[in-house]
Amino acid sequence: MDDSVFRNEVQAFLTESLTPEMKQAGELMTSVFADFDVAMDWHKVLYHKGWIAPDWPQEYGGTGWTLNQRYIFQEECKLANAPAVFALGLQMLGPMLIHYGTQEQKDFYLPRILSGEDSWCQGYSEPGAGSDLASLITAAVRDGNDYIINGSKIWTSYAQHSNKIFCLVRTSKEGRPQAGISFILVDMDSTGLSVEPIVGLDGTVEQCQVFFDDVRVPAVNLVGVENQGWDVAKYLLEFERGGHNYAIDHKKQMAKINRQANSQYSSGNTLWKDNKVFAAKFADVAVDALALEFTELRVKGAFEAGGNAGALSSLTKVMGTEIGQRFNELSLEMMGEHAFVQQLDALLPGCEVEPIGPSCGLTTMAEYINNRAATIYGGSAEIQRDIIAKRVLHL
């Protein structure tokens, strides 16, 4: 199918299927996460359409689209303000189970991920193990047909909304730190498991700490081989890095900035769009965003040609997040004091609260604050540069 025909088809579907509330939820996103409940409604719409897992192999429920089509789909969803689907199950656990899971695990979990029956969160980081994951200490000790888990996981996104968690746990203290780690699946309603919300700087809760106090998990929940969870985790991390199209995020950011620049005034009663200094700064970032967009296409091209685009994936993570942050800064400069208003109830989709101040600035400060984490999570900007130095430049 011609790409433009496909794009039309996607647009038609979006026009028809996205409710005002869903679009509002997309518009009001202040981080990579949308309102959980509305996003889940959207998840179900996509599920029924058969479009929930474009990145999966078709035999497991994927769409069979080309890379280009998947990109178009993502782009159109984002620009139509579809709320982001909470995607750890779809984007991380699913591909991993397809690669490492037993037939039973695939048969049981994959359909539940597709339908939205299970929402998965991720238990990797620990208070003492952030970028240095290999030093994790949360331990799973074998006891008959179970493991007993003790310890805690932190920075677990939307744990409060999830019914399952996939975890890295220590099953052995021998050998290199990486050698004794296993990958395991846990029910959130297990006895001894508790969730403590972490309030973010914008006043909302997206992250949690998860505590394990003698949590008993059946041994069949292990994925892959015991003590070889590190390979599973690495597979997932690479998937996480390569999978995101930052250029699409940037387009949404630029569209928003253009709306602001067409309604707000800088000093001297000049619309921001006519402020030459601002225009130069905006163009500077926009040019980097354009260069990154073409780089993402190169990555995709290399991937499609069967090559490994690993190196460029670290690059797109670093540049993608840093460019996004620069857009946030421009937006804050433009909204000025109007971005000070903290009105959390006006950020909930479906709310009846009248926003105070210009509506185009409602999310500005929260986005600016929340997006600082983009260069921290998923391998900090410093770690990514270390990786590039070592693996690409062989330094």
């Binding site: 970028s131 309030v199 000093s267 009663n269 909204m335 004091e337 921290i376």
Partner: protein, 378 residues
Amino acid sequence: MFIEYSEEQSMLRDSADRYLRDNYSFESRQAAIKEVRGFSADHWQTFADLGWLAMTFPEEYGGFGGGALETMILCEQFGKYLVREPYLESVVLVGGLIEAGADRALKEKYLSGLIAGELQGALAYLEEGSVADPTRVQATAEHSNNGFAISGKKTVVLNGPEADFFVVSARVGGKKESARDGISLFVIRKDAPGLSCNNYITYDGRSACELQLHKVAVDKESLVGDLGNAAAIAGPVFSHGIVAVCAEALGAMDALLAATIDYTKQRKQFGQSISAFQVLRHRMVDMYMEIELTRSLLMATAWKLDNAAPDADQCVAALKAKMGKAGRYVSHNAMQLHGGIGTTDEFSVGHYFKRLAAIGVMFGSRDSHLSRYSKLSV
């Protein structure tokens, strides 16, 4: 020229530091934010008792006759301890304008109350669509019998919810909504008929409101400054305000750098303190250099304002521009080097971050001050 503090100035700094260290812990601040909107009346009363609120007012009205240097000294400590009490809003801006432009009766009426900590003021000058441009005024003051009737809408009135009275800008002449001339300032009591507030909190833990004015009647004596010439008094007061927020930013940046050094020494990764990583060390050095450059500019600017130096305005513009860059660099990297913990509400780093984000755009963005610096340099 401006290197040495006088003995009084050193005492002021030390006493502020001591009081805040003992009574203004981050934990107590956060608890207070959850309890009461805006600020703590107890702290404010203590500030008054310690004489801080009187520091910059003339002796004839009960003040101590200090200037920008005293403001700088106090606000630097406020920044270091994340003080959220409205010293800037009530004392520097509203107090400063009344002192500069009100007639004697109005001064006597309000200054003593401000100094005693009994009255709170708020400046209402920002309007929709504009960023920190005090000349973009659409609110109007029409002559009516024996005074004026004021109508319009003011956004982002900091400290508005706690204020007993407002100083409001309105246009008495000049058709253009962004003309510099034709703007006047008026004192308006909170309970004036026709005035209504839409209160809210701000991301940096303070309070503000939108102010609606519908034919609010004020008498002639409420005029602050000459009719249609608010700029004459607002310019110097805003300069003073810029010194205040930049000093506050400096204190905040000092606190962030200290916290970052501590944290990176304690935090272990890959078997060593992360402060051992050269990239992080140099990042902290760059933070340090940005802070020291800002400090130099701040000290010089405060001194030049107090001594009416011919290049004082130029220094004010330079200072705000430099602070914008430094504040962003320091706060971003403090958060980056703290990692996840810095993004949480329970840790102080993010609250300094948010305050620096706010100060960065207050009184105009970095670019607008660079442009002003260019014009003044010709």
